[in-house]
Symmetry: C2
Subunit: 463 residues, 2 copies
């Protein structure tokens, strides 16, 4: 749930790291689990998912394109995100800004966000206005034509966005450099917002080519959650989206992260950092790459860092008082690789490298001594509870389905998640800990270890 | 000269690091300096350079294409080099292997090599057979069609080449990982030989597309040195190469290395490493990016590491006995960025990080106290002497011109090098040291610092 909320916040703030920021956390099975999602595919290839929720008379309407920052040409980083901004700057039939103005007039609100593997546009609105929205979204699926003045002024907007959110925040600069050190030879290593030098050189013909290549009904998923049923919207979907012709869209390709045996570390000092912290980043499989292992990693995450009573926090923060904060996260909702991240802030007087050892020992412990069935059962319960909670919102499930369907998972994967996660055993969890979170072995490349430090601080020894 | 010899050795061994391994080291001015190069451009755009040298009755004939590893699509690393291999596997009129067999029959020898910015094919042969060679080279400029069996077997050859030269040698693995850590978001960060996983997936349609896109007379330079003049070969060039039609070739593009302020270090331990060593890699301008600074960097290189009597060796190896070997090199012959590399092996009992400090202090010394006019004069003389020596070979000048013309330098740049390098002042050298080799400031990104260690060795503190 923590993660789902994070994703929703990311979405609303157009974050540069929406990608992979959210594992599947929904469920299926009896009444209180499944989403009851309904699905159809139009003749032009558009996938439509409806998630009925009749508690409130509103809907969340989202269009997800199966394209994102990882699909950009080298040298054009951030253009998927920049295109997302330009999508609000007019088509052959809509004036610049008209889209959002109309949504507001209809009493709704709208926004959009970009990930490495998807770009999504969404509105929350009263159900009666749904067809109007669909017509407008269908229109900008093919007819984008921002005036040149808007093209240039919006370039300044995204550049300013980068300056504010990344360059002015050393934690984000650090995160960006950590990811680029881990994802060598891979677009997941570049920021979704783009590298500044490349943002300064955006040209409309390149962006237009990207749009023409990837924006098509057969490369999109429409997700509607709220006070609707598939039957109630079927005809309007056909009247609006159904009129957009399909076209040939290339296969998404992702290069391979080359194996390496050298240990990379990154040290960033900044005057605005007050407390030193350390982070380790490791490559791990995504749901699409290995669903069973992804489920086990989701549980490993929760067993290690599922609240104050779980291993990392309880042992190192509460009992041993070696750390002030610890985060261990698994991001598996990606079309290509997922990753694990382990970070911590030491308690007063604890050396960073000693803390690294202590953190690693927690994983060595899991690998050598295993986990208890009770720990596993509790983690399953916590995840299922979060999922039920998440299911009750209107936007949450729509986010989940959009992200799943654009990163290679299916409606069934989400509907069955509750049953699937119960099948994971303690051995499965030890197995993924041994392969992907093992301090004494590595998968593809050793972890990238990063130190974010105040100006005067020096790590004792590294690595 | 050391560098020129290195380049020639690289060439003959199809090295994965031909790129940038050679600064301009030739001269112009009076008799004993200039190359007396003659140049023409055919109607189809082919550039032809002739460097007469009548001391021996042989010629070196080279075709240089303005395309290399840095022009590959992401995910297809090594395909420029693989294509270079396939160029010997037959055309519509030549059987696989016939090219080299014919060269041998004519008493010559041939080979080829690939860099990040160029791909070159060369033969050394008696001048009388030149037209035959040209006809064969012109033929494979458009008609490549290797049989499928050769495509597959040659894939095994390049994969084995990678295994032998890179994967079995920790120094090369280390170099590869150092470059990929420095050249973030840039194709200079990937190995020319290719990443193994991507090599395993080569498909003929992709390679063919690369060939069709880039191999054209208007994207090539023919360099002939030896017992010929432009007049003596003009007609045969027209009869052979002149018949190949020109075509539209894309502009070469290179992405930008994004600025970063985090300090990256790489530690590689391997059982076959006997002595620990340390290396620092820094981005610096190439000749094409800034000719004056490139000349100053060439001199800085020579002042710091131009023999046993120059700063690094004399101070740290001979006088202080802190290091066993030291190398400082500048590689500026690139279409995009150049780089500086500083590496050393400590003397018995000297900690690696202490050696790093001592090395850096040598540069701090230059920046704060400058260099003497005598040091500069001696470096200019040494470089000019090497250039004269290099000029006297047959293959050397051809290499130099090919590399220069495919990385954005001109014939005039080489012919005037002797005069240009004499114009560099001690202030110019301090300036480039301060910007590009300054331990307390950095250009674009901090240096990547790498530790290559025996299995049991641990660096004292890093970074």
């Amino acid at each position: 749930m923590r993660l789902l909320l994070m994703l929703l916040m990311c979405a609303l703030s157009l974050t540069a790291h929406a990608q992979g920021s959210q594992p599947v956390s929904s469920t299926s099975a009896p009444d209180h689990f499944g989403f009851g999602a309904e699905m159809m595919t139009l003749k032009n290839g558009l996938q439509v998912v409806v998630i009925p929720n009749h508690r409130v008379p509103v809907v969340t309407h989202m269009v997800w394109y199966k394209v994102g920052g990882a699909d950009e040409a080298m040298g054009q980083s951030g253009s998927a995100h920049y295109l997302e901004h330009l999508m609000f700057k007019g088509t052959q039939t809509q004036a610049p800004g008209e889209f959002s103005k109309m949504v507001k007039t209809l009493g709704g609100n709208d926004n959009a966000f970009t990930g490495h593997d998807y770009t999504a546009y969404f509105q929350s609105i009263s159900a009666e206005h749904l067809e109007k929205l669909m017509a407008m979204e269908a229109d900008r699926m093919t007819g984008l034509s921002p005036p040149e003045s808007h093209f240039e002024s919006e370039k300044k907007v995204v550049i300013e966005e980068r300056r504010q959110r990344t360059d002015n925040d050393p934690r984000n600069v650090f995160g960006e450099q950590m990811h680029s050190a881990l994802f060598v030879n891979h677009p997941y290593g570049r920021p979704i917002i783009g590298w500044m030098d490349e943002m300064n050189r955006y040209q409309w013909p390149d962006i237009k080519k990207f749009y023409d290549t990837w924006y098509a009904p057969n490369n999109a998923v429409v997700v509607i959650s709220g006070d609707v049923t598939l039957d109630s919207i079927r005809d309007m979907v056909k009247r609006t989206y159904g009129a957009v012709p399909s076209k040939s869209v290339p296969m998404r390709t992702r290069p391979t992260v080359p194996p390496a045996n050298g240990m990379t570390s990154l040290t960033l000092r900044d005057k605005s950092v007050e407390q030193p912290s350390v982070e380790m980043l490791m490559i791990a499989p995504s749901f699409r790459q290995n669903k069973k292992e992804a489920l086990a990693l989701q549980l490993l995450e929760n067993i290690m860092d599922g609240g104050a009573a779980t291993r990392l926090y309880k042992n190192l923060v509460v009992d041993q008082k070696k750390a002030v904060t610890i985060n261990f996260g698994y991001q598996g909702m990606a079309y290509d690789y997922g990753f694990l991240s382990l970070s911590a802030t030491p308690a007063e007087g604890v050396a960073l490298d000693d803390l690294v050892q202590l953190l690693q020992n927690q994983f060595r412990q899991v690998i050598s001594s295993g986990i208890t069935q009770q720990e596993l059962d509790e983690a399953v319960s916590r995840l299922q509870d979060s999922a039920i909670f998440a299911r009750d919102s209107v936007a949450g499930p729509a986010m989940l389905f959009g992200q799943a369907l654009t990163t290679g998972s299916s409606v069934a994967d989400l509907e069955n998640w509750h049953r699937d996660i119960e099948k994971i055993t303690t051995d499965d969890i030890i197995h993924v800990a041994r392969i992907y979170a093992n301090p004494d072995q590595f998968y593809i490349r050793p972890p990238v270890i990063g130190y974010l430090l105040p100006l005067e601080e020096t790590p004792e020894k590294t690595p």
